[in-house]
């Protein structure tokens, strides 16, 4: 252990704060003594010179869901019991949600090690071993590489872990690594230097140019060049302009924005400050989903800290520039992710879209020029401002630069948050990073872009992540949800799921979307419902619906008012394009090849095989199974909800499914 720096500098004292402020105001103006203190502080805060052991526990929403709350309590009890001098830091999500709760431990002078599945039962053993400088017998994710620290022998490095190795983590660089509730940690990792340098040295048009040259495109779905969009607002004459951060993340199955705000709120805040400065806005809003209470709390704290440091408020760092950031909580409506609906919602109205033009950049919130950017777009800005446009556009494809964050979920081993360079193949994301399909099942498709996107079948797995190339197979970048489906998933059912979602979320303002999506859903429901009691007229209607489905889809696409309707038929069109055979099986053969459309299945008990063990009758959630002990049971079709529990439970394979 190194004893050369035993004196600890308190990191949130007035003196420290003044030093950090001076550093942000102008790093070149620091005295030698200040520089030495700063260097020591930095080493202390980024783990190179720890004074005492540190425990990092991932307590993002995913971690808490997996039981990190109980782990935390156990750790606290452990520390109290052993009267140990240990710091515990709650961090955001490192991205490997599948093995949460994740605990990372760092001893002074040693590298930091991450352990998987650290639940309340096993965490004491981990701590016992590591504190005695031994490696416990517990699943290890890996150790962080650091030349200045002594590595653990025989422990793999985390950057060689198959989940992390192919990733390029720019936006997520700090997520799960630093303490999100500490602005000092963010500053030590390079934060806010870009913003203070920009307001010192650059004019707003120069910042717009920089971002345009970097090739950064909107990560919220549209993919419009961010710098170019800003210029519309920059050049619009007005006494007040607004910046809005779109953190409504309504796509079910996407959680990138949440992870960024929970794990690194100051990165978003700095990005917003840069964007607001570039367009000349003195007020900015964050439209954050109310369903993300932790993210809201973290961002509120971040704003308060930034105010203390003078990074927000009047006359920021003597530049004459002022900025205030306000959090507006979303109220749970998917359509409010659309720009003009979002504006209506902030104004206190029903979240319905407005016809465009006028575009928000000219006439938006309260009639003033307004720029709306996605969380990830904004979170890219600090790194672009710090490293320059050329650094950013060196990575990626011809038309898509930088990286993209995806929320990987569904039937894949390593569910979680991944960030890859543009141009990475889908196959690599699912099979290398994601670890492939669990339980030896076969891959069927991946849904990209959420309810407005499409699915990518096996034969196109080698397509690259790129705004344009994804469109060629009928998918789109979207916001970044990647839901993997295996052979047990029915594509008609998936299309029905999205249609049901869209139909409920349609705001009702324009007819093609309001009525059209409902008709589409009805068609899909008929296709997947049982024909047991079908009347002839219903059969006719079913066929009529199927015949008109694609035409209806095209009409909805062409005539809807906003992006919600214009993209609503995509899941149907794309599943129809790649999985036509599944639709045909449902329509002509009345069966669901994947066995997912439970309505098309019929459950019955084979009296020759049933031993009357009563297990199924006990477990049936809808009490649809009748019978006495030792006598073959039978299923009441009307009561059966088709959940399949009896099939799973029967030890004699007596339940037949057709």
């Amino acid at each position: 252990m190194n004893n050369n720096s035993t004196i600890e500098i308190p990191c949130d004292s007035v003196a420290t704060r003044a030093l950090f402020k001076a550093h942000l105001a102008d790093p070149n103006a620091l005295s030698d003594e200040q520089k030495t203190t700063l260097a020591q502080l930095q080493a202390q805060l980024d783990g190179r010179q720890l004074v005492r052991p540190m425990i990092f526990l991932g307590t993002g929403t995913c971690g808490l869901g997996a039981g990190a709350g109980k782990t935390l309590k156990t750790i606290r009890d452990y520390i109290q019991l052993h009267d140990a001098d240990i710091d515990v830091v709650e961090v955001g999500c490192v991205g490997l949600c599948a093995v949460e709760p994740i605990i990372e431990i760092q001893l002074p002078g040693r590298t930091r090690v991450a352990f998987a599945h650290a639940d309340a039962d096993s965490v004491s053993n981990i701590l016992d071993a590591v504190l005695a400088e031994k490696m416990p017998k517990h699943p290890i994710i890996g150790q962080y590489r650091n030349q200045q620290l002594q590595p653990w022998p025989d422990v793999p490095f985390i950057d060689e872990h198959p989940f992390f190795a192919p990733q390029t983590r720019w936006v997520l660089a700090n997520c799960g690594i630093i303490d999100p509730s500490s602005i000092e940690q963010y500053i030590v990792h390079g934060g806010y230097q870009a913003f203070t340098r920009i307001i010192r040295q650059m004019t707003p048009p120069e910042v717009c140019d920089l971002v345009e040259q970097s090739g950064l495109r909107g990560r919220g779905g549209g993919g419009f060049l961010t710098g170019r969009k800003w210029k519309f607002a920059l050049n619009a004459a007005a006494d007040q302009k607004y910046l809005i951060c779109n953190a409504d993340e309504g796509d079910p199955g996407a959680f990138m924005d949440r992870a960024v705000i929970e794990g690194d709120p100051h990165r978003l805040l700095e990005g917003m400050a840069i964007a607001a400065y570039a367009i000349g806005a003195s007020k900015a809003y964050v439209y954050l989903r109310a369903e993300y209470p932790l993210a809201i709390r973290r961002f509120k704290d971040a704003i308060a800290q930034a105010h203390e440091y003078g990074l927000l408020g009047k006359n920021i760092f003597n530049s004459g520039y002022k900025l205030d950031i306000v959090i507006k909580m979303g109220a749970g409506a998917f359509v409010c992710g659309e720009e003009t609906a979002l504006i209506n919602s902030i104004e206190g109205k029903r979240g319905m879209p407005r016809p465009r033009p006028p575009f928000p950049a000219i006439q938006g919130l309260f009639g003033k020029p307004t720029i709306i950017n996605n969380v990830e777009t904004l979170a890219n800005l600090p790194a672009i401002a710090a490293n320059g446009a050329d650094w950013f556009n060196a990575v990626g494809t011809k038309t898509s630069k930088g990286t993209k964050v995806f929320a990987l979920s569904g039937k894949v081993t390593n569910t979680g948050l991944v960030e890859v360079a543009m141009g990475t193949k889908i196959r690599q994301i699912i099979f290398d990073i994601g670890g492939g399909i669990p339980n030896g099942k076969a891959y069927k498709a991946v849904q990209i872009g959420g309810p407005s996107g499409g699915c990518i079948p096996t034969q196109h797995l080698d397509i690259e992540i790129d705004y344009e190339s994804l469109k060629t197979v009928g998918a789109m970048m979207g916001s970044g949800g990647l839901v993997v489906m295996d052979e047990d998933n029915c594509m008609v059912d998936v299309a029905k799921f999205f249609m049901d979602f869209i139909q409920r979320e349609s705001c009702g303002k324009c007819i093609p979307c309001r009525e059209g999506t409902r008709r589409m859903l009805e068609i899909l429901k008929r296709v997947t419902s049982s024909r047991r009691n079908e009347k002839p007229i219903e059969a006719l209607e079913r066929f009529k619906g199927v015949m008109h489905m694609t035409r209806l889809a095209e009409i909805i696409k062409d005539t809807s008012l906003c992006g919600l309707g214009q993209t609503a038929p995509n899941p149907i069109l794309s599943t129809l394009r790649w999985f036509r055979d599944e639709y045909e099986a449902h329509i002509y053969e009345r069966r669901c090849p994947a066995g997912a459309c439970t309505d098309l299945l019929q459950y019955s008990i084979d009296p020759n095989l049933c031993k009357g063990c009563t297990l199924c009758a006990k477990k049936c959630p809808s009490d649809a199974i009748m019978g006495s002990p030792k006598v073959p049971h039978y299923i009441i079709p009307d009561k059966c909800i088709g959940c399949g529990t009896c099939v799973d439970i029967c030890r004699f394979n007596a339940v037949k499914v057709e």
């Binding site: 993002g60 929403t61 109220a331 998917f334 902030i346 104004e347 206190g348 569904g410 489906m485 909800i641």
Partner: protein, 163 residues
């Protein structure tokens, strides 16, 4: 009743001279405190903001977040996000509805359970998920759901649930 009116007043006083853009934050605050928007509350907000009650209902009913019935003692949120759907949340929801005899957005008569559908609660890795008063139950099946409900019912009736 008068106490609630006073409490709502206390909330409204935090928004002096409020404009229309304060409407949603005010409603959110009221719901935060009382778990739902009562008729009286809506009328009072209308008087404060000088808006017709119909307009306020227009806004409040538009958003999924607002509810007009009090929450049950156990508030169950069922995730219907894509990841959970792919892993079978439809069956989970169906059996919940069946067990409780209510639809999503409603509260059981005895005031014990309320059911809500939410889109992705961010625990996709553990799908399908429900949360009961903020506590997660992961990797569910219809059968596990039945079990959870029964043990919650027992707990509410003061019986020991040592199962």
């Amino acid at each position: 009743m008068t106490t609630t009116i006073n409490e709502i007043d206390t909330i409204l006083q935090q928004y002096p001279n409020a404009q229309r853009d304060a409407l949603i934050p005010i409603l959110q605050k009221i719901q935060d405190q009382f778990s739902y928007l009562s008729r009286d509350a809506v009328v009072q907000v209308g008087q404060h903001l000088n808006l017709p009650v119909s307009k306020i209902y227009g806004v409040a009913t538009f958003y999924n977040q607002f509810r007009f019935q009090p929450l049950g003692q156990y508030h169950i949120q069922v995730c219907r996000g894509t990841a959970c759907h792919v892993k079978g949340s439809a069956a989970v929801l169906k059996s919940l509805k069946h067990e409780l005899g209510i639809e999503a957005g409603q509260t059981t008569r005895d005031g014990l359970f309320s059911l809500e559908i939410v889109a992705c609660i961010g625990a996709c890795g553990l799908a399908p998920v429900i949360s009961v008063n903020g506590e997660f139950y992961a990797s569910l099946t219809p059968e596990k759901v039945k079990h959870i409900i029964v043990s919650l019912q027992r707990k509410a009736n003061g019986e020991d649930s040592n199962e």
